[in-house]
Structures are given as structure tokens and as C-alpha cells.
Symmetry: C2
Subunit: 307 residues, 2 copies
């Protein structure tokens, strides 16, 4: 800089001013560039740290990416993995053998049963046999998953105290979201607004199933490995869970925990490689339960045929 | 540059070389910065374009975010929307009334039935009654969804020609992914590798249900509106679809289209606000179908009780 100021006083000052300006501009850009790159680097580190979240320090994380873009000839593990694909033993498939008419009748009955399902928020205090809960979760566990990794864990919360704590976390989140989204809740009657964010059914239902999605799995060597398409796999598992609940005459009103999932995970002492996916309160519906008068789309609105 | 070269020949050459070097370095950084920023800008534009994807130019997109962070007193729509929450008519809930023993028996039978389900890749050419397919999709359509938006569309592809085209797209994607991930496929027997990426069941099955996820919906005023948690909602719907298929004695082997979804969407002439979620081939299983000898996790491995 001093160099340029000195130059300005000399005879060829005009070009030097231009050069100095360019230099200052360049410097600004360089600083901006470095700052931007540093910020993005720190962010990446943060994401990495999160995804690498390990419960116990001795567990090593093996990123699947390490396997990619390598030549098979160089990496013996790839070859071994590749061979494993073919070494899976095939067994006969035990199938239901139904006549067309029987299949049709069953599909009609299944639909009629599912059609009756609604999100119910009024639960009966009638206790639910634990064997029933177990059968329903076992049914959910039959869901297909990418690579048969079964990236799920179902936490059945039955104690009133624990349910109340989870309800508090969810309501807090709901209230924050609603007051932010809807704006100035003081404009409206607080008592009325309460109806929106209040979730009494989370404690009214005898059981609250907290569905955990496993982002990573722990292998036999106590290392964390990746799971694929876990969001899709666990969504399907919850679908089967809901079908099983309905088939057994139980009710639910699935709840998304918004940003309260992390608090709930910690509260239930679940490991860092799990994430709260959904809350599924479970119980028999109250005797005179009511549901919102909503309509489902017709078959014509959801089916397109290409034949 | 010339300026600096000239300077070097002068008496105070050492400092000038340093300055020149710094300038060249700065210039390199500036170019890198500009390139990085431009690339990220173009990418953002691309993402924006995709998410704003509109089928017909006259359709306006109303981002839900416009509603957020506003004071209710200022925005009449918020108040109207808020009132709507309470104006939803409540109707009695029609429920299954089952005795505990009956519920237990049903849950046990449901589980036994679901337990038999496996991903089957060997299909019988036996035709599937279209009424059966319809009942199964109607069952999937009973799934709960965020805001009752039902963000799904089920495309039933039955023509062999169309199925073959979709199979081609998926196999192309699979082959690319495998050759990239596994590396040098020339190292291995091509014929063997074919077993991995080849998807004959996509054409063998009499029907191929292409499950579309609706990122946006079109309202009565022909405008695009957002859907929430559509990934979760449609995952649940596919779960019920799979349960319904199994209950009717049909088989499937759900397939993820990898990056081929966009091509399939275009091929089926589905609008831009839809996205291929999964491919569900549907048919009766082949008489002597086999399945991989995989194990499911036990109840103890997927259930945790908090009581």
C-alpha cells in the first residue's frame, strides 16, 4: 500500500492508481473468498461430526464411500463383498395360494377395514394387552428395507410420567411453530389457540410408540456402518404398523415431533445413531370418539392406468 | 503484468517481484472465487427451477413461507385459515368393536400373514384381476397424510412395451451405479455381474405400479401449493399397499429407480410436480419361486419398553 501511495506522487501516477485499485479489489475478493470457504469448511465439519456421531469412543465409523470409485482389482474387500452377493442361499418361497375370487374377497375386506381407519385423538383408558402391542410391532418389523438392514427401533412408552415429558416437549415445539407461523397469538383467544398445539392424546393413549430411524447400524465388530434409503424403509414399516393397528381395532393419530425429536431421543436415552421418526400413540378409541369430517380422494384421482 | 516485468529490470526489483507474485496469487484466487460462486449460483437456480416446476404457465405458485413470520392482525388470510381449523365438522368415528381375545387373535393372524411376505422376483404369468389391483391401491389411499393432502398418484403400467422401457431406464441406472461403485467391471465376469443390475421381474410381473410422490398440489384456482412431509406420508401409503398385496396373496419386490426417476416421469407423461418414489412390480408369485435366505430381527432387537 505504501508503495502505491509513494508511486502516486511520482509522474506515472494514473496507471498506479488503477493498479492500486485493482489490488485493493483483489484483496477484498480474496478475503471474501477465504471467509466463504472457511465458513463452508466449518459447516462441512459440523455435518461430518453429526453424521459420525458415535456413542462409544472405541467404535470406528466406516464410511461406505471409501468403497466407491476404486478398482476392484486393488481392493480385496470389494471382491469379497461382490462374491457375498452370490453366496446368499436361496430358499423356497412359502406363498399364500388363493383362488382369484378368494383374493378379490380378501382385498375387498382389507380395503373396507382400512377405509374405517381415521386419525383418532380421543382414546379410551381401556388397557391394551402388551401381547397385542408386540404383535403389531412385529408386523411392522416384516417391512422390506434396503439391503435388509431393518433400520428401525420401536420404543413403547407406557409410564404416564414419561409420556407427559414427551408431550411437554412436543407441545413446546408446536407452540413455537404455531406462534411463529400464525404470528401474534395475543390477537386471538389463547384458550382457543391451545386447541391447536395442545396434544392431550399423547398422554391419554395407554401407550406411545416412539418410532426411531437408525441412520447408522452397529456391526459385529462394534463399528458404525451406513444405512441406505432409511427414510423410505421406515416409512413403509410405519405403514404396516398402522395397518396392523387398524386390523386389531386399535386407534392412533400419528404425530410428527417437529424439532423436538432430538430432545425426545436424549430423554429416552437412545443412541446418537438413531433419530425420532414419528410418535404413534396407541390405544382403543373412546366410546364416543369423533373425527374431523375429511374426505379421501377417489380411486379415479389416485390411479392412472397405462395399458 | 508488463508493468511488473518492466519494474523487475529497475533497481528496486526485489519488492516488485514480491508484489507481482502476490498479485498473481490474488488473481488466481479471484478467478477461483468467481468460478465457485458462479457454479453455486447456477446450481441454486437449477434447484429453484426444479422446485418451482410448473406444468402450465398460467399456474401461480404460492409458497407457504409467505404466510410465516407475519402478524395475524396484518394478514386476513391467516385469520381465515386459523378459523378454518375450528370450522371442520366433527363426525362420529365408526370403530371396530373387538373383544381383547379377538383383537389378539387378529393381530396374531395379521403378523403371521405379514411374516410370510418376502421380496419376490420370480412372477407367474397368471393375470391379476384389475379389480384386485384397484382394491389394493384404494387401501394404500387410506393412509394418513400431513394435512390430509394425500400427495400420491399410482400409475399402473400393464403394457409390455411400457414396462420394457421402464426396465431399460432402471437397468441403465443400476449398471452405471454398480460399475462406478464396484469399480472395473471388466475384472469380473460380465455375465455374472448382469445378475446384479438386471431386473427381469420389472417386465415379468403383469403390472408395474409406479408410485408418484406429489411435491406440490394444484388447488381449485389452478395454483400450485406446497405439500408437507410428503416423503413420510407416501412411505406410509406404500407400507399399506405392501400389506394389502400380501393379504391378497400377491407378490412384489419394490425397486428404487436411483436417478432414473426423472426419465420415467417424463416417459409416463406425469406432471413436473410429481416425482417417482418407488417401482412396485405386482403379480402372483411363480410356482417354485425362491427368495434369499435372509433373517428378520427378533422382537427383542426392535422393541424397547419404557414403563
Amino acid at each position: 500500500m505504501l508503495k502505491y501511495l509513494k508511486m502516486i506522487t511520482e509522474e506515472n501516477w494514473r496507471w498506479d492508481i488503477v493498479y492500486a485499485c485493482i489490488n485493493i479489489l483483489c484483496l477484498t475478493f480474496v478475503i471474501a473468498f477465504v471467509v466463504v470457504q472457511l465458513v463452508s469448511l466449518l459447516r462441512k465439519d459440523d455435518i461430518k461430526k453429526r453424521s459420525m456421531a458415535i456413542m462409544q469412543p472405541e467404535r470406528k465409523f466406516i464410511p461406505q464411500a471409501r468403497m466407491t470409485d476404486k478398482q476392484i482389482g486393488d481392493v480385496i474387500e470389494s471382491v469379497l463383498n461382490y462374491r457375498k452377493v452370490f453366496s446368499i442361499k436361496k430358499v423356497p418361497y412359502h406363498r399364500l395360494r388363493l383362488h382369484d375370487d378368494e383374493a378379490l374377497l380378501r382385498s375387498q375386506l382389507f380395503y373396507e377395514n382400512m377405509k374405517m381407519r381415521r386419525c383418532v385423538q380421543e382414546f379410551s383408558p381401556r388397557p391394551v394387552p402388551s401381547k397385542l402391542i408386540q404383535n403389531i410391532i412385529k408386523s411392522a418389523g416384516t417391512a422390506p428395507s434396503a439391503g435388509n438392514l431393518q433400520p428401525w427401533m420401536f420404543c413403547v412408552v407406557s409410564s404416564h410420567e414419561l409420556k407427559a415429558e414427551i408431550r411437554k416437549i412436543v407441545e413446546e415445539e408446536e407452540r413455537n411453530t404455531y406462534s411463529k407461523k400464525m404470528g401474534a397469538d395475543w390477537v386471538l383467544d389463547i384458550a382457543e389457540l391451545k386447541i391447536i398445539w395442545s396434544k392431550p392424546y399423547l398422554t391419554d393413549a395407554p401407550h406411545l410408540i416412539v418410532v426411531m430411524k437408525q441412520i447408522h447400524l452397529i456391526n459385529d465388530s462394534n463399528e458404525l456402518t451406513s444405512t441406505y434409503y432409511n427414510q423410505i424403509s421406515i416409512g413403509i414399516a410405519v405403514g404396516i404398523l398402522i395397518a396392523a393397528l387398524q386390523d386389531a381395532g386399535l386407534a392412533t393419530s400419528i404425530t410428527y415431533p417437529l424439532y423436538g425429536g432430538e430432545k425426545i431421543r436424549k430423554y429416552l436415552k437412545r443412541p446418537l445413531h438413531e433419530e425420532v421418526f414419528l410418535l404413534v400413540p396407541v390405544g382403543f378409541p373412546a366410546k364416543n370418539a369423533t373425527v374431523p369430517d375429511l374426505k379421501r380422494k377417489s380411486a379415479e384421482e389416485i390411479i392412472r392406468c397405462y395399458s
